[in-house]
Amino acid sequence: MAECHPVGFQWVMAAKARGAAVIHVDPRFTRTSALADVHVPIRVGTDIAFLGGIVNYVLTHEKYFREYVLAYTNASTIICENFKDTEDLDGVFSGLDPQARAYDFSNWRYEGGDVPAAAGEQDQEYEERVDHAEAQEVDHAEAQEAARPEVHGSGGAEALAEGARLQTDETLQHPRCVFQILKRHFARYTPETVEEICGIPRDTFLRVCELITENSGRDRTTSFAYAVGWTQHTVGAQYIRTASILQALLGNIGRPGGGILALRGHASIQGSTDIPTLYNLLPGYIPMPHAHQNEDLDAFVEAEGARKGYWGNMRAYVVSLLKAWWGDAATADNDFCFDYLPRLTGDHGTYQTAQAQVEGTCKGYFLLGENPAVGSANARLQRFGMANLDWLVVRDFSLIESATWWKDGPEIETGELRTEDIRTEVFFLPAAAHTEKSGSFTNTQRLLQWHRQAVEPRGDTRSDLWFAYYLGRLIRDKLSDPAHRARMGLDADGRGIERDRPVLDLTWDYPTEGGYDDPDAEAVLAEINGFDAHGHPLSGYTQLKDDGSTSCGCWIYCGVYADGVNQADRRKPYTEQDWVAAEWAWAWPLNRRILYNRASADPEGRPWSERKAYLEWDPERRKWVGPDVPDFDEHMPPDYEPHPDATGPEGLSGKDPFVMQSDGKAWLYAPVGLVDGPLPTHYEPQESPFTNPLYGQQRNPVRNMPKPGGDFFHPSDGEPGAEVFPYLATTYRLTEHHTAGGMSRWLPYLSELQPEFFCEVSPELARERGLEHLGWATIVSARSAIEARVLVTERMTPLDVQGRRVHQIGLPYHWGPNGYSTGDAANELLHIALDPNVHIQESKVLTCDIRPGRRPRGPALRELVNEYRRRAGITEETGRQM
């Protein structure tokens, strides 16, 4: 966190100054470790074993917060008889189809219930729930593709069928209640197992367990902060799930000082998922509709929404979004233009797209502030994809590698590509920096903070808002120009201009300002906030209607422009308000600073303790009071019990804090929502020098694998050739640079601070491989080979795992051949086996070899890689087994 979020780390230091213990779990001793009380070096890719060990410790030693667990989690819920755990099936859950490599989730359900569906993964479930007479047969091969993790973001999985009763056992003794399943599932994760898998000595592990459990309960709370070190794995989503289970058991969610804090990227990665740049989400985590036959708005809401909790109002959110986008054209008669929305047909994530480019089905590519030629895993595959496009538009500050690979990329040097053969038309458009435009950043704690333009952009540089707005105008002009339509043959399909209505009917008028007629960013914010039927700004999402009388560009942002005031622009210093500082900027949703804050009080509405008091029920005033906005109806008394038929927020009781879940509970066991299991399970990474000691199943059985051709994998432990790649490597960032370097490698003041690509190795590995401090090393994988200067440091420590000593190599991934500070890109080495839930690459773990000296130049580079593949016996099939 000190390395990558130094500004946020000031609050960790503030906590430390007040006596907090800081624990840092990282394969490397970093700037964060330097300030932590305990540094726990861990073998990369084993965090589920580590966290699962703590879960087991908490359960075994009865350190959980029993009242919280009973009242606020699904610990007592009984799971259906069909469910079989990894304990029963040697590492996989019931419902696995080995051919399709996908799970049938129906036997993970709550007892007595239909399933869940909001998280409604699959076509099969969709068909089931909307009761289509002719259920669409889902090809097994497509099953995995159809597993729609995007809908899980909407969290509102339906826990029970209409009218069905949740089966619970408040004594937590029923063998099929979540609590007992949890105990059995994590029983294997003993301190000895943790040591064997993670390389963390038993004493260190137990010290961590004690620190965490002693600091949790009525009087104290513990928080977890994580970043891509947890997400970039083939089991990344399950890492976060393990932490969720642990924090829910300890009662550390919805309370001050608790939580699981996702440290999102700079400066607005949070914003770019809220109002997504992701292919599978609409604003506010509404799933992108899937291309089901005859799907309409009602069917969509039925299939993807939930009956109870705040997702019960999904129709109002969707209709208001459609009204924001298509204005007067969206009416009740035309389903509010629901058909105008694009539809998904499967995985269109970034790696799928790169493969589609190689195959020739994806022909055009916009890169806005993204540098896949060095910044994405298997960078070589990314470049081959771009070399097969019709056109490529790059908008960035500088001539990044993604804009110049066609003339000076690594494949030009190796002779695999020749500039004159590349047909891609590449456009480079210089982009304005944040100082040259107004807008908001949504930071890692959901705060929208406004920034104002300081100077006009120089030369040809323009803001992204300018680019999107005028590109849209040009396209609309062309589409409505009969001459253009005739020239381009746009009417050939006989549908005429109707085909292009979704583009032409978009509301696309914004006031402009400044020397370049930039759209007014505040007008966009007002549109996102939304208006009522009279054109007045809305003040919160509870005002949204499903009848078309309200518009809102992103329901969770509704209220950011309340009263016609830019709430994100509020700058009252924290020194002039209470400790929650609710008047600094604006947090979604509804300016709430802690989500699920009903859990900060006990079931009767009293604070769990004076020390941790936050919200409480005031029986005199019949409302909830405290320093924050309640994450529920502020007048709902703790003793409210819903009518069995009640839906929406009124469908949950006054004791249910987790208002986005259809049962109002924190899920220790996820009956829906994840495509790779209702409980986290330790699997070895795609590439590992070790065998999974827990189960026969080595890797995540449903991880996403790329199509054969562009990617090769290493043999893992026990397979012939594994010894060719004996070391583990992990990639990461340094404080001094920004991601793939587009914003830092061109800046002299930053480049001089970390001037070259380097790798970090322990003295032991340096001795073993003859590496010299400040000398050169070549690091090799089956994808490519790169060279790096060597930093030998005791901050890198070997670990003892399964009786063997393993070395881990650190690779900061900021570099590429362009810019002021240059070096090879660590992403050349990475493979693209992905997490099946979010399609993220496993950039935190790979196996590799390291040798002294520089890498070969020209065609010899590929020869070296091919020689390694030959020696390890790598084929198209290696590493692809389930």
Binding site: A2, P6, V7, F9, Q10, M13, A17, F29, R31, T32, S33, A34, L35, A36, D37, V38, H39, V40, P41, T204, R207, L734, T735, E736, P748, Y749, L750, S751, E752, L753, Q754, P755, E756, F758, S762, P763, E764, A766, R767, E772, H773, L774, G775, R789, L791, V792, T793, E794, R795, T797, P798, Y820, S821
Partner: protein, 306 residues
């Protein structure tokens, strides 16, 4: 305490301002280095991977007015468990391989030998000390270096003639001549900001308040309290450096809380204003001259007598 501004002739000067750099909370982000260069338009001065841990800046010089040192040590930080184990490695034996700095230089570098299983990573942002008795100021023949009303020491780029006298005069090796320019440059404690009531750029950018700016009296009091708290917490290594008006430079306007001996950070343990002995040297010289003169006169007189 002597107020150097008052001594320099300012009537009713504002409180003496300075820096307290608390290295125990420094996270080595180098924001101070960048903010300083941005605000003061100090040029970039070379891409060099030094191998000195994460310190690729090296030292304070004409084009580096804030410098963050990184020291990897085999030494326990009180109450910290670093987790790393290198029981088989003798860093002294490893030294010739280049894995750590040669033992004779080990105090200031990546890895200093110590107990196995111990590791700490010290970070500290160094800066001009703005001495109470500033030798650079004493020796400047042009008046380019001057004492401000805030008690800080500033070099004026439009007056400096590049004579270079100030450079050997500084007991810390801070002030330096810029190559190709010839003039002397160093931290101004952002004279062009503090006059407007702003804090210096480095302090403004520091995320953890490792660099604190304020009236020196207040900073000294705060620093003393901080050391006390660290001692209570078991960090017995904590000590102040440059805070004492009785030291060889009359106390620094920029002082530090360190976690080890100053030498470990590349700081002189007992700096003395290099012009300290000038008066007595002059006295001795004068006495010697007088003696010589006396001898000469005597000789003449004696000679005449002959």
């Amino acid at each position: 305490m002597t107020d150097p501004a008052a001594v320099s002739g300012y009537e009713d000067p504002p409180p003496r301002m300075g820096f307290f750099t608390d290295t125990s909370v420094c996270i080595g982000c180098k924001a101070c280095e960048v903010a300083c260069k941005e605000w003061n338009a100090v040029p970039e001065d070379g891409l060099l991977l030094t191998g000195m841990s994460y310190d690729n800046t090296g030292s304070l010089n004409a084009s580096t007015w804030r410098h963050v040192a990184f020291i990897e040590q085999r030494k326990p930080l009180a109450l910290q468990d670093p987790g790393v184990m290198h029981p088989d490695v003798d860093v002294l034996e490893m030294a010739p391989l280049g894995s750590s700095t040669p033992p004779e230089q080990a105090l200031m570098t990546p890895t200093a030998p110590g107990q196995e299983g111990d590791l700490r990573w010290l970070m500290a942002s160094d800066v001009c000390k703005h001495c109470t008795h500033a030798a650079c100021l004493d020796v400047c023949p042009t008046g380019s270096l001057f004492r401000t009303e805030f008690g800080t020491v500033v070099v004026q780029e439009d007056i400096c003639n590049g004579c270079g006298y100030c450079i050997p005069a500084c007991p810390y090796g801070v002030i330096d001549q810029r190559k190709g320019d010839g003039r002397a440059w160093k931290c101004t404690l952002c004279y062009d900001r503090i006059g407007d009531g702003l804090e210096p750029a480095c302090a403004k950018a520091c995320p953890t308040d490792s660099i604190q700016y304020g009236p020196l009296d207040e900073l000294r009091e705060r620093a003393a309290g901080r050391v006390e708290r660290l001692h209570e917490a078991g960090v017995t290594d904590a000590r102040l450096y440059g805070h004492d008006p009785a030291d060889g430079v009359g106390g620094a306007g920029a002082f530090f809380l360190l976690l080890d001996d100053p030498e470990v950070y590349g700081l002189p343990p007992d700096p003395i204003v290099t012009t300290r002995d000038l008066p007595s040297m002059w006295r001795h010289a004068a006495a010697a001259a007088a003696g010589l003169l006396g001898a000469a006169v005597l000789a003449c007189l004696t000679g005449r007598r002959r």
